[in-house]
Symmetry: C2
Subunit: 400 residues, 2 copies
C-alpha cells in the first residue's frame, strides 16, 4: 500500500496497517460530545473517585525523598516495591518476579500479540469482547474467531468447537466490557478444566474485578492454573487511568520474551508514576478507597435499573443487571438498529455506544452498551427518559 | 517455537519472538554494576540535572488546579498544550496537529516499525547505530542493511548502493548514540537532496540535539523535507527520562496510521505527566535549564578528553571529540577486542560498553562507547587511568 499523495517520498505502509483503522467508537464519541448531551457512552471511570489529596501527598513525598531516582531511567520489569504490592494484592500466590508493570493493561495486550500471534494464527475471543483487545491484536494479523457467550459466561460447546490449534483464548470473566456479565463459578471450573485438557492458553483480562457491588466474583482463572494463563490487571479503575499503569502476571517460561517486547516498546513504564502509585497504596489505602467506588457505582447502577424499569415499559427493550463494573448491556426491540438509533438519541440529549463494534464476528445490531458510572443519578434519570423517547419515536418512524 | 516445559499449556511463540533476545548491553551492565566500579557504560543522563524543585511545583499546581482531568483517560494524540509546546520549540514550522506524544521516543520507533515494516522489508541504518532502534524494529522482521558512516556522517556512496527499495533510512544526525558524531551541513544537504531524488523515507531520531556545547548542530533533515521525514524527539535528556515522554512529528498522510498504532499500543501516554512537563516548561524554563546541562556535560567531556590524552600515551587507543551529547567513541589498538577487555577493566574498577552490539552488520570488535555524563570529573580521571591500566595489561597478556 503506497501513499501516493506525498511528493518526493515513497512511504509504503506495512500490510498490517490495513488492519489499523480509526476506532468506530472514537468517531462515535465525537458525535456524542455535544454540550448538553448526557453520555452513557464513554468507558471512563468517575473522576470524582480519583484520590487527588493522596496523589498530592505522594508526589510531594516521592520528589522530596527520592526525586532524582524517580526521574531517572529504570528497570523494564517495573519498580520493585510496586511489583511486590501487585503480588501481595492478588488473592493467590504470585511471585513478584512474574509481575511485569505495563503502560496500562492495554500495553499488556500489545506485548501478548507480539509474542504469541503470527499472521494467520487463530485466536479465540468472546462474542462480544473488549474492542481495545481486538485493536491490539489486529496488527499481528490473527484469524480472530469469536465464541458465543451467555449470562453465565462463555459457551463451552462453542469454545470446544473452535479451540483446536488456537494460540490463545482472550476472556474477561468479571463485569465484562461491554456486557457487564460475570462468568459463574461452574463455568469457570469447566473452562479451567477443559483449557488444561486442550492445552489452550488463556489470557485473562480483569480490569473491573475489584468493582463488585455485593460480593466478590468467583476466583480468577489464573489462580486455578497459573502456568496456563497470562493475567492482566490495571490501576486505571481503582486509582487513576491518567497514570497509565497496568500489570501482567506471566508464566515463568513466557516472562523473558514479554519483558524483551516491553523493553523494545517503551523501555519501561514511568518510574515516577510507579513510585507515586506505590506510595498512595501504602498502609491499606485501597481497602478504604475501593469500597467508596463500589458504593458509588452500585448506587448509579441501581438508579439506572430503576429508570429503565420506569421508562421502558412497553418498549421492548431488554437489559441485564450487572453485579459490578461500569457497564450495562441492553437489547433493542427486534429489528431496531442501535447505530441508526444513536443520532436520534443524541438529538434528544443522550448518548450510548452501539454494541456492534465489540463483535469480532456476527455483530448484533440491536445491542448497546450503557455506562452508569459517569452520569449523576439525576442525569441517569433524565438520560434514560430521553433514550426511551428516542426508542419510541424511532419505533414509530420505522415500524418493524 | 513451542515452550515445552510448561505442563498442560501449549504456549506457542510467534516467529518474531525468535528475534527478541535479552539486550547484550543489559546483561553487560549487570556485570558492571559492582560497588566501586566507575561506570562509563550506561546511557543515563546525569540525575543532578533533573529539575526536582520545578517538578515539585508543577505536580502541586496540576493536581490543585486540574487534578481530576489530569488523572482521567485522555486523547491518544497527546495533551493539546504539550503538542503546541513541541511545535513551538522546534526551529521549523510545525503544525501541532502533526505532533504525536509518545511514551518515550522508544515508542515512536515501535509505532514506526508497526506501520512501515513488513517481514522482509529492507530498512537502512547507520553502521553503528542505536541498539534500541534495532530492538524496536526487529519484531517486525525487517532485512536490516547498515551503511558505512564516518566523522562527517553517513557515507553517501554506500547509502546509494543500498537505498533502493528501502522502506526507510533510520539516522541520528546529532551527537549520535553510540559514536557521538554529528553529521556535517554538507552531508545533510547531500542526504536530503538524494533522499528526495530516491524517494527514500527518512526517520530522523534526535534525542541529543539540544545538548550542544559550543554551537547548535546544523538544521535537521526534517526541516529540509518535512513530508519525507518522521522526526523523533524526547524530553528524557532535557527534563527527565522517568516521565517517559517523547514525541514524533509525522507527515500528514502517515499521521492517522501512527495514531491508530499508538491507540492500540497504550491508549495514550500519561496525561498527568504531559501536564507536568507542560507546566515545567512554561515561561521559557528550558532556555534557563538546558544551558546548565550543556555546561556540565561539556566540562565532563573536556575532563575525559584531557584524561585520555594524559593516560593513553603510547597505548594506541584512538578516540573522537564530540561536539555535544553524552558519548565518546573509541577504538582499541588493532587486534584488541572490547568484549574481551571489559572484564579486565571491571576488575580494575571501570566499565564501558563494547561497540559491537551497536552494529546491525559487520561489528567492529575494537570499538567501545564511553559515556562522560554520569561520572564526576574525579571519577573520570580515575576511571580513564584504570582503563589505561587494563589496556596496558591486556596488551601485555595477549601481544598482537
Amino acid at each position: 500500500m503506497k501513499l501516493n499523495d506525498i511528493p518526493h517520498a515513497n512511504w509504503q505502509l506495512a500490510r498490517r496497517a490495513d488492519r489499523m483503522n480509526p476506532s468506530f467508537i472514537r468517531e462515535l464519541l465525537k458525535l456524542t460530545e455535544q454540550p448538553g448531551v448526557i453520555s452513557f457512552a464513554g468507558g471512563l471511570p468517575a473522576a470524582s473517585t480519583f484520590p487527588v489529596p493522596a496523589f498530592q501527598e505522594a508526589c510531594a513525598k516521592v520528589l522530596r525523598d527520592d526525586g532524582p531516582a524517580a526521574l531517572q531511567y529504570a528497570a523494564s520489569e517495573g519498580y520493585g516495591p510496586l511489583r511486590e504490592t501487585v503480588a501481595a494484592m492478588l488473592p493467590w500466590p504470585v511471585d513478584p518476579a512474574q509481575v511485569l508493570i505495563t503502560t496500562g493493561s492495554q500495553q499488556g495486550l500489545d506485548l501478548i500479540a507480539k509474542v504469541l500471534i503470527d499472521a494467520g494464527s487463530r485466536i479465540v475471543v468472546e462474542r462480544p469482547t473488549y474492542l481495545g483487545a481486538l485493536q491490539a491484536f489486529a496488527p499481528m494479523e490473527p484469524e480472530v474467531v469469536s465464541v458465543a457467550s451467555d449470562a453465565q459466561g462463555v459457551d463451552m460447546d462453542d469454545l470446544a468447537a473452535h479451540a483446536s490449534g488456537a494460540r490463545l483464548f482472550y476472556v474477561l470473566p468479571n463485569f465484562q466490557n461491554p456486557t457487564g456479565r460475570t462468568m459463574t463459578e461452574a463455568r469457570r471450573a469447566a473452562l479451567s478444566q477443559r483449557a488444561t485438557e486442550w492445552h489452550l492458553p488463556i489470557v485473562e483480562d480483569n480490569p473491573y474485578g475489584e468493582l463488585w457491588f455485593d460480593a466478590p466474583p468467583p476466583a480468577s482463572l489464573t489462580s486455578r492454573h497459573p502456568e496456563g494463563c497470562i493475567y492482566l490487571g490495571t490501576f486505571s479503575k481503582i486509582l487513576s487511568p491518567g497514570l497509565r499503569l497496568g500489570f501482567m502476571v506471566a508464566p515463568r517460561a513466557l516472562y523473558p520474551k514479554l519483558l524483551q517486547a516491553k523493553q523494545a516498546a517503551d523501555l519501561h513504564s514511568p518510574g515516577f508514576n510507579q513510585r507515586i502509585a506505590t506510595e498512595v497504596m501504602k498502609d491499606g489505602f485501597l481497602e478504604r478507597h475501593v469500597p467508596a467506588i463500589r458504593a458509588l457505582y452500585k448506587s448509579q447502577r441501581d438508579a439506572m435499573l430503576a429508570a429503565l424499569t420506569r421508562e421502558m415499559q412497553g418498549l421492548g427493550l431488554q437489559w441485564n443487571a450487572p453485579d459490578g463494573g461500569m457497564f450495562l448491556w441492553a437489547q433493542l426491540p427486534p429489528g431496531m438498529d442501535a447505530i441508526e438509533l444513536l443520532p436520534k438519541a443524541v438529538a434528544k440529549g443522550v448518548a450510548f455506544v452501539p454494541g456492534a463494534p465489540f463483535y469480532a464476528q456476527q455483530p448484533d445490531p440491536g445491542s448497546l452498551r450503557l455506562s452508569f458510572v459517569t452520569a449523576t443519578v439525576a442525569q441517569i434519570d433524565a438520560g434514560i427518559a430521553a433514550l426511551a423517547a428516542s426508542i419510541r419515536e424511532h419505533r414509530q418512524a420505522s415500524p418493524c
